[in-house]
């Protein structure tokens, strides 16, 4: 190493100058020019790829359900026709569910054979409804089919109401009989 090199090495600090005053402020201003803090990447790239793959799979499953499964159904239900009819169907189904629960509660029936017969009758009504769904599929938006469906629901609720009335009558009669027996 020459004398010059040695001298520079030894006095390196002395050769250095400070930038013109105010350089910190000028740099701050320039720094603010940079795009604001990048979003901290929570997921590594692989995770992002996986997330996208999951989304694609889910959405294609959903599309499959909507497009294909729907067409594979045996028919079109009342609720599929329009939002208004959907409300109608929901109303009747709710009614039917309540009645069904009442009928199903065992103490109303004197014996289980009777109960099974009634429930079979009700499920036969469901099969009629399923036929109508098929009809509606072959004749979309046919008012006659739609009206028949609504009539069917109304009828079903009526039948169930009658059934419940009859059953309650039987029950009260039975109570009277047992009361009389107790009195004797």
């Amino acid at each position: 190493m020459s004398d010059l090199e040695k001298y520079i090495q030894k006095n390196k600090e002395a050769f250095e100058n400070e930038p013109p005053s105010g350089h910190f402020d000028r740099f701050s201003a320039k720094l603010n020019r940079l795009p604001t803090t990048k979003k901290i990447s929570l997921f590594p790239r692989l995770m992002k790829v996986a997330a996208v793959a999951v989304l694609v799979i889910l959405s294609s499953l959903w599309t499959y359900e909507k497009v294909f499964q729907h067409n594979n159904q045996d028919g079109i239900a009342l609720s599929d026709v329009s939002p208004e009819y959907k409300e109608v169907e929901q109303y009747y189904q709710q009614q039917i569910n309540v009645k069904y629960g009442e009928i199903n509660s065992a103490h109303l029936f004197t014996d289980s054979i009777q109960k099974r017969m009634v429930l079979n009758e009700l499920s036969e009504m469901d099969s009629i409804y399923n036929c109508m769904k098929k009809d509606l599929k072959t004749n979309p938006n046919d008012e006659r089919v739609i009206n028949a469906m609504i009539d069917h629901y109304r009828l079903k609720v009526e039948v169930m109401n009658n059934l419940l009335e009859q059953l309650q009558k039987i029950q009260t009669n039975q109570k009277h009989i047992s009361h009389e027996n107790n009195e004797i």
């Binding site: 001298y7 350089h23 803090t37």
Partner: protein, 185 residues
């Protein structure tokens, strides 16, 4: 350099990681650490204080924007310094001074006999003044070798010349420098 693949562990790794995430606080901290050294590197090439400051600051911004290309194979300071040098050289080129002038001998005065270093009393201010008098080509080779610590192979890569040119230019540049210092004294 026995393990070129080995990642360089920086003393300020946390600050660098902050900069990777675009954190403004970390970016300013890094500036505070390196501005002085980077400014002087640029100043030695460009000679103008305002321009050197601007180039140095722009180099920091470039480094922050391209921080994902920093692989950690060299120290962060070395990586940043290369950006500063490249930007300074670009500015010099814009001044229409071609680096090919490096190959031409500048005949400010004839160097009849070699100046003997031992005859000269070195002073910081003398050396600085003499450096400023040198033509850009000479000054660049000298400052890259004497102040930045690059070898001739590295200087050849930076300036786009052969390493033998770098060597011969360095010898000539140093002779000019010594002459200027002697005249100053």
């Amino acid at each position: 350099m026995s393990h070129p693949e080995q990642s360089y562990i920086n003393l300020n790794q946390e600050i660098i990681d902050g900069c990777r995430q675009g954190d403004k606080g970390s970016q300013f901290q890094l500036y505070e650490l390196y501005y002085r050294s980077m400014y002087n590197t640029s100043l030695r090439i460009i000679k103008d204080t305002a321009e050197a400051e601007d180039i140095m600051q722009e180099a920091f911004l470039t480094a922050f924007e391209k921080i994902n290309t920093y692989e950690g194979k060299v120290s962060f300071g070395s990586w940043l310094k290369r950006i500063v040098i490249n930007k300074s050289l670009d500015a010099i080129r814009k001044r229409k001074i071609k680096l090919s002038e490096l190959n031409e001998t500048t005949n400010d005065f004839t160097l009849e006999k070699e100046t003997d270093e031992s005859e000269i009393q070195f002073k910081v201010e003398n050396i600085k003044r003499a450096m400023e008098k040198l033509p850009d080509g000479y000054r660049m080779v000298l400052s890259l070798y004497l102040f930045e610590g690059y070898d001739h192979e590295e200087i050849a890569g930076i300036l786009g010349i052969s390493s033998s040119t770098s060597r011969s230019q360095f010898t000539r540049a140093k002779q000019h420098l010594l002459k200027y210092i002697k005249l100053d004294n």
